[in-house]
Subunit: 136 residues, 6 copies
């Protein structure tokens, strides 16, 4: 199995609801350093997993909608805690959609699975991984 991974980041404000979060129930924020790993069993004719330039652009586009936002005010997240693990899945879904739309080109369509990791500090990170959904 081959992998290629690209890194970028975004910076947001948010707050959590639930006693489990303690002081993180207050409005605060985070820098998330994001790694997106693209996996497939074989390389394409160019010898790559995915066009790394397009992969980086697709990640930047996916994060641009989140970057410099207060996530408490994003309608799509209403009623949800935008935890690091939840946001890892959000980025996963957006990257899977980008692949489906062809934003990563022909090689991107052969990507079998993704792993998205969000580093929230030097001592904590969260991830979401799974197969790339295929349209029927």
């Amino acid at each position: 199995m081959f992998s290629v991974c690209v890194r970028d980041h975004f910076m947001i404000a948010h707050s959590f609801r639930g006693d489990v979060f303690g002081p993180a129930q207050r409005p605060h924020g985070a820098t998330f350093v994001v790694d997106v790993e693209f996996r497939r069993s074989t390389l394409d004719a160019d010898g790559i997993v995915v066009d790394i330039g397009r992969a980086g652009e697709a990640l930047r586009a996916a994060l641009a909608e989140l970057n410099f936002r207060n996530l408490d005010e994003v309608p799509a997240f209403r009623g949800r805690n935008t935890t690091t693990e939840f946001l890892a899945q959000v980025v996963f879904d957006r990257m899977a959609e980008a692949i489906g739309r062809g934003d990563l080109g022909a090689s991107g369509r052969e990507v079998e699975s993704l792993r998205v990791t969000l580093h929230e500090s030097h001592i904590a990170w969260a991830a979401f991984e799974g197969p790339v959904p295929r349209e029927s």
Copy 2:
């Protein structure tokens, strides 16, 4: 699959028995920077894999018994080489026990597997991973 990971460290003395260890047969020591990754298929109602505060405390407690010790004098390790990979399993077992005791709360009981990584330097690390044992 979702993951959450927390990091801490401990500092120990030890020595190894066996020609394969060369100069590491002499009394020496190590700093181990420890990553514990908690994995489960779904998030709980709060949107988390595990209470990260409790996870960090459980890891701190697990490492406290090892920290600032000469492992050659710990009865539980008598006759064993406390290699990095062996210690990764020791930390795994302690974290699994903490989950079983409920130290990580209700969300912690839903953790399906763990990966424990011990970084011994900037050029070497070891890990142990597996499912969290369930009581019968």
Copy 3:
């Protein structure tokens, strides 16, 4: 010259005023990983620059007032942009005060200068450094 450095972090929300900040004028946030370097010309009788345990506690205390806050609502920062470089000086001032109060013990009082670095992402950081002010 000897140095000892300890690391911790805090997570905040804020926004900036001024065209230079572009989209960072919107409410957003950051994780700041903080390094505080303590410098002095000689070691004390115990062979240390500063009691590293107390240094870590003093840093934790200094950051606790900022952690999990919306800095736009902190009275002390009214009318100021809480940029990374500005916050580096804030942490510097608090650590200098802690030294002055004796929170770092007798060895701490011999610290001559500090350098405080705030990492805001994997590609950007800011710092403030200078001598520790002495009371007259």
Copy 4:
């Protein structure tokens, strides 16, 4: 499952053929920081996955043939794009051969799978992983 990982690096020149590579079609180069993870289900009698000293030497030997080379002039790579993911497989194959030859000793022969990661910058890496081929 246990893992042990060792790190080393190599520095090469190369160029790529194919429009997808844009300016990377020009002669350029890279530093690759290489992590090789060795995996097996059980530890040997010494309590190790593999002799870490021998593992490091085998990796150094595998990289020595590539280090300080223009890969465009290496006959074995003629007609291939020496992308990061391709080179991850090259290092994988060489480490698997080293295991097969017994370069990692008896414990090395029990290694079940390998994961080879090549970091090409602070924002991109590639990997190849799979079972260690067994001779019939």
Copy 5:
């Protein structure tokens, strides 16, 4: 003293002349991860050392002329060994020129000194630092 630092990278081929370089006399290459630290004594009215967005763009522009090049073929470097320390000064000079041209805006003109660090691997880096030259 305040500092702000931004990071980027470039990938080049080159070779060295001189016995001291051993196998690095052969055509090879490197990834250089570049940190540029901007220093000044006071913050501007916006509370910044320099417009970090412009700083990043100026660095990208400075590296673009080097990126994906064989430095042995760059006329400006004829007869010079493009060592890591030499290239640190090259990037320093280009950033100082960008400041002089006003590419970093008004706040950039107040930058007093720069430190440019080029990381060539996980075990080696080089730097050049000094005051920003002022036009007479």
Copy 6:
């Protein structure tokens, strides 16, 4: 001012005397990841600060006497606490001696100052820096 830095590591056991050390008074150990920065105002005729190959060998030799040792049993350290900051000076002194002996070659003799940093964990490091003593 130019700098070149090389990294290596060593692993030791030790204990401390003095109430300030708390549980670190017990026999324990550490991995120290060591950075040695060599500084000089000008490059030599080859375009380097120092022969990086020789610098790495000199560092390896300096650390070899400490590596895999119980520092409590090293005669030279009798009655001293081998703290991280103390050991930074020990490595500094050994590197300065290596320069004085000519182990780093002719270019090494032009090194003006050194900074030695010992990373003891992901959250703490210590350093010693100063001019390279010149023989009279």
